[in-house]
């Protein structure tokens, strides 16, 4: 199959030409982390944080910005546009099935999230002296499974909206809701317990990401009634499977 590599190459170019998405989805998380890292009080170790700096605890949240942005705003908007403008319909008259372009789209979106995260981790380490994830394997699993759950939600949105403008509005609402409930707008430590507990079930699973990045930070942000790490991962995985199945079920090609 020669078409898929070509589709991925073309979708990559299209992604890079979409400067707003590159700026907000890929570059913004690092920029935000740098911006917050420039505030002196956030760089001071505090006893109530067990000797950690606020920026140490907050760093994983920067990742979540990029993940949510790509999964629930960028992907549904592209899919809705491709459907609305007859791009998928046009493809279905060629030997290549239109799902190939959606697959290529997923690959590019995932790659962009990986780049965004790698950039954030490297900048956090190099500039702000935040150590890279302590438990790399768990971190990788939490990242992939959490992103899959987010993408599942994005795909359900893409499947049910009729127009690209509806996709944009839905994406923005989802972005705000997921960021708030996931505990990414406010530092998790200052949020009420209820929201923090809910946050463990909200993709991409900020608590799991935090705990895998830094065990100490994870202990501080965890709630008393918090779920164990692997249970949080299992919940994200289940969400990913359910949302993808729903999206596949309700998806309309035209």
């Amino acid at each position: 199959m020669r078409a898929l590599p070509k589709l991925v190459a073309v979708e990559t170019k299209l992604f890079l030409r979409d400067s707003a998405t590159v700026a907000f989805g890929v570059l913004f998380p690092s920029g935000l982390l740098l911006g917050l890292g420039a505030i002196p009080t956030l760089r001071e170790a505090s006893p109530e944080n067990g000797g950690l700096r606020s920026i140490d605890i907050w760093a994983p949240t920067a990742l979540v910005f990029g993940m949510v942005m790509i999964a629930v705003q960028h992907v549904p908007s592209v899919i809705a546009t491709y459907r609305e403008r007859g791009i998928l319909r046009r493809l279905s008259t060629t030997p290549v099935p239109p799902r190939s372009v959606l697959l290529a789209q997923m690959i590019v979106a995932f790659a962009s999230v990986v780049v965004s995260a790698a950039l954030t981790i490297v900048i956090a380490w190099a500039v702000l002296d935040i150590a890279p994830p302590e438990r790399p394997l768990e971190f990788l699993v939490a990242f992939v499974v959490g992103y899959a759950a987010l993408l599942g939600i994005g795909l359900v949105a893409a499947a049910v909206v009729r127009t690209s403008s509806a996709a944009n509005q839905t994406g923005t609402l989802l972005f705000v809701a997921l960021m708030f409930l996931g505990g990414a707008f406010l530092p998790r430590v200052v949020m009420p317990d209820v929201l923090r507990e809910v946050g463990e079930f909200v993709p991409p699973g900020l608590q799991a990401l935090t705990a895998a990045w830094s065990v100490e930070a994870g202990e501080i942000t965890a709630t008393a009634g918090g779920q164990p790490f692997w249970l949080q991962i299992a919940i994200m995985a289940a969400l990913a499977v359910i949302t993808s199945a729903v999206a596949a079920k309700v998806y309309r090609w035209e």
Binding site: R2, A3, K6, L7, V10, K13, L14, R17, D18, T81, Y82, R85, G86, I87, R89, R90, S92, T93, T94, P95, V96
Partner: protein, 311 residues
């Protein structure tokens, strides 16, 4: 050799019958036009041929293949330029052509197509920055990039200015000369008449007539009119006795003869036999619009407003 055969095609959407009973065959190397009023079932017929819709009954054969059962093979051999389909805004002309050529087993040389469709200058231009005519040419190029034996072109000059339409027409003729069979769906009568070897008139989900453009026009019930002046005296009966003539009128010294069939040659022959020289001879030609009226009972749709081509 038959390139395409549609037999007793029937397709309904719920209660609404889109195509009632459509049959026609298209020979290889032919430009076959499909005309008909809006909602006549043209698009559903074409979509069924392209395998985008599954017929409720009837059969379709594309080069001996079934568009639903032999989906993959039909897509290799059939190029489609669809109404209301488009490409991503930011894709460049050369990228789109190269990408689509990678979809096919035995693609055409996309660089040559880009040249043929006069798009080489625009190879690095993004789709959104192309003019209407350029977008249309890219769409045609992409329909041909798989080296198809048959190309379906649906409403291909809608939205183009008159010059761009004429350019597109000569392009279609060049493509046919390369051996591609063309199925042309249009609501422009001049386009169908100029390009098609044969035309199917579809009305109310049925084929009202299939013939050459000249054949359809000849079968139209509209009356022809021949006008002329004579210097010598002429007896009216010389003309009224002709079987093709239905009426003769003399107004201000100008003769107006109306009738059917081969009216002009009948009148010319009669005048010659009477040794009368006709001057200032004019014929009101019937055209495909008249034929359309005859077979559908309606006037053809007014052409969609032209967009001025930019750039």
């Amino acid at each position: 050799m038959t390139a395409l055969e549609v037999r007793n095609l029937h397709k309904r959407y719920g209660q609404h019958v889109a195509v009632d009973d459509v049959s026609f065959t298209v020979d290889e190397g032919e430009i076959f036009g499909i005309i008909g009023p809006n909602g006549a079932g043209k698009t559903t017929t074409v979509e069924s041929i392209a395998g985008l819709r599954r017929p409720d009954s009837g059969s379709i054969s594309v080069l001996g293949l079934d568009p639903v059962k032999d989906r993959a093979e039909v897509r290799e051999r059939l190029g489609v330029q669809l109404q209301e389909s488009s490409f991503p805004d930011a894709i460049k002309v050369a990228e789109a052509l190269e990408l689509y050529s990678s979809f096919y087993r035995d693609p055409a040389d996309w660089r040559e197509l880009m040249e043929l469709l006069d798009l080489t200058q625009k190879r690095s231009t993004q789709y959104k920055a192309l003019s209407g005519g350029q977008k249309q040419r890219l769409s045609i190029a992409l329909a041909l990039v798989g080296n198809p034996r048959i190309a379906i072109l649906d409403e291909l000059t809608t939205g183009l200015d008159p010059q761009a339409r004429r350019d597109t027409w000569s392009l279609i003729e060049r493509i046919r000369d390369r051996g591609v069979t063309i199925l042309l769906v249009t609501h422009f009568m001049d386009e169908a008449e100029r390009l098609s070897d044969r035309i199917a008139v579809i009305d109310g989900g049925r084929v009202a007539a299939v013939d050459t453009p000249a054949g359809l026009i000849a079968r139209s019930s509209a009356l022809q009119q021949v006008r002329f002046r004579v210097r010598q005296p002429l007896d009216e009966s010389v003309l009224t006795d002709l079987p093709d003539v239905t009426g003769v009128e003399i107004r201000d010294g100008r003769w107006l003869v109306t009738g059917t069939g081969e009216l002009l040659s009948s009148v010319a022959g009669a005048l010659a036999r009477a040794e009368v020289v006709a001057e200032d001879l004019r014929v009101d030609q019937r055209n495909l619009d008249d034929a359309f009226m005859t077979f559908t009972g309606r006037a053809p749709q007014a052409p969609a407003s032209f967009q001025r081509e930019v750039g």
